[in-house]
């Protein structure tokens, strides 16, 4: 009797597990479909080229040129990567190769904490610290700016993506086999030379994957950027101009979108773009990691 019950539990659990897993996969597809269906009407009246390259954004009149938003997103994301990538690599290298124990004890929880801090709090910090900073900087360099700019967005975003990039890079660097280091040192290379020529080359794939992960996060981050970027539908021409990245577009216009025709379709298109970017970067990161694991068999 007992055995029958056990078997019953076994099969039952299995079915639930299977159901949940299949649902997960279906969920992704359903989400994509939902967005697509809602976004679709906009394509009937506007060509893809128009949507992407036109700057005319006047929803009330029915023109939906996404170009300014795309630019805004690109500016902010690029800025954040330019700031965050070198900082992440250098910090990861330092923490893995050179840092004394006490530094690691301080930095590890610090980086973890940075990863957990919510978007809004970053936004508050951005408004209180970064926006005035950019304003000052602008004055010094000759740009009048309110401080609410793509630069502010880039800086805040950079700080947000540094934790994830740094921790993945650290893991990758740490996974360098010790034998590789030993043979390099035994040929008379210094620690630095070993790090620069051997460790870095070995870890390159993983470091790039980490970078892609950071990029992915940067694309989708909404609230913090929204609070400091100015939210004006213009083409940012300099660091100090405000911008309007795609996630901000979605967040700000949620409310109005029901009342204007095709507005909701436009917003959904934006959401679809974001989802598409995530899909592509995920794929890319996975490919890089897989190449790294298989193309380089441990000897």
């Amino acid at each position: 009797m007992r055995t029958l019950f056990r078997r019953w539990v076994d099969i039952g659990t299995g079915n639930i597990a299977l159901f949940a897993s299949v649902s997960t996969v279906i969920l992704v597809i359903v989400f994509a479909l939902m967005l697509f269906l809602k976004a679709y009407p906009i394509f009937m009246e506007n060509s893809l080229g128009n949507l992407i390259f036109s700057s005319k954004w006047a929803p009330m009149k029915g023109s939906f040129g996404f170009f300014d938003f795309i630019l805004g997103t690109l500016w902010v994301t690029a800025l954040s990567m330019i700031i965050a990538a070198p900082l992440s690599i250098l910090t990861a290298l330092y923490l893995v190769e050179y840092a004394p124990k006490w530094v690691k004890i301080v930095m590890d929880p610090a980086i973890d904490l940075l990863a957990g801090i919510p978007s809004v709090v970053y936004g508050v910090w951005g408004v209180v610290v970064i926006v005035p900073f950019v304003r000052e900087l602008g004055d010094r360099v000759g740009y009048t700016s309110t401080g609410y700019s793509v630069l502010a967005g880039g800086i805040v975003l950079a700080l947000m993506i540094i934790p994830i990039m740094t921790s993945v890079m650290q893991e990758v660097l740490r996974s360098t086999p010790i034998g590789l280091r030993e043979v390099s040192l035994s040929v008379g290379a210094t620690k630095w030379e070993t790090t620069r020529y051997i460790v870095c080359r070995h870890a390159l794939g993983g470091v790039i994957a980490a970078g892609i992960m950071g990029l992915s996060r940067a694309f989708g981050e909404t609230i913090a950027v929204l609070m400091v970027v100015g939210n004006q539908v213009i083409m940012p021409r300099s660091l100090f101009d405000p911008g309007y990245p795609i996630p901000a577009l979605i967040a700000n216009n949620y409310g109005e979108m029901m009342s204007i025709r095709l507005y909701d379709a436009a917003i959904m298109t934006a959401a679809l773009i974001l989802m598409g970017v995530v899909f592509i970067t995920q794929l890319a990161a996975r490919l890089v990691v897989r190449r790294m694991m298989y193309g380089r068999e441990a000897p």
Partner: protein, 282 residues
Amino acid sequence: MIRRIEENVFKFLMLISTLIVFLGVAGLLFVVMIKGVPVMSWEMISHCPSGGDLMGAKPGILNAITGTLIIGFGATFLATLASLPVIVFIHGYAHRKIWVSIVRFALDLLWGIPSIVYGVLGFMVMLFFRMKASLLAGMITVALLEFPIAARGMDEVIRLVPKALKETAFAIGSTRAETTMKVILKQALPGILTALLIAFGRGVGDAASVLLTTGYSEDLPTSFTDPVATLPLAIFQQLGSPYPEVQVRAYASALVLTIIILIISISTRYLMRRFESKHVGG
């Protein structure tokens, strides 16, 4: 000679980088505290606002704190219900690697979706079921957001459990259900709790997903269909208010939120350390 210079230059750069990152963290916490502490008071935390909070009347953030905590726990509970079976599937039942890869990829995709998109999707679900912006709608949306985070976190943790354990359990005749639940999950329990904590932290702090799904209310919620205030949104709105006395309340709210996250972060570290020392490495 050149290599010496190069080495020193890079050593310097590395040091500066680390310092900058540290200053970033420290600066952030410092600002939150400096700005938040002056505005904090017991009254703030224990009272709901009244009379048009956003327009300057009596302050209070109890509504937001309660809302956030209820949504946090509720959403995490739902996410756990959803992710446990998937984990059981991956680690206890899946026969072929291809299925595991597909499910993991799906989870990765879901994990990568920006929270604003979850907000949009939650909004669409809300409309479809003709729900109003409410506690329930917000809970479901945040649950959707937390689900891949919880699942992935648990997955990573369970992967650390030595395979031999599973094999031994099967060898003595356990069923798949028993092996997975009684053996593997038990071994990985602290790690699983960590994953759930992390998901909770994410759900609690996220503003984009609750933006249009929870509405706003000055009072404590009395039922699932009431609109409810949340800390992230409260911060966002308070900061954007034209009244300076309301703006500063944002700092207090931010402080409370940060403290919650700090508690979660410390608990996570503690749990992970216990997990690693006891259960990993065979």
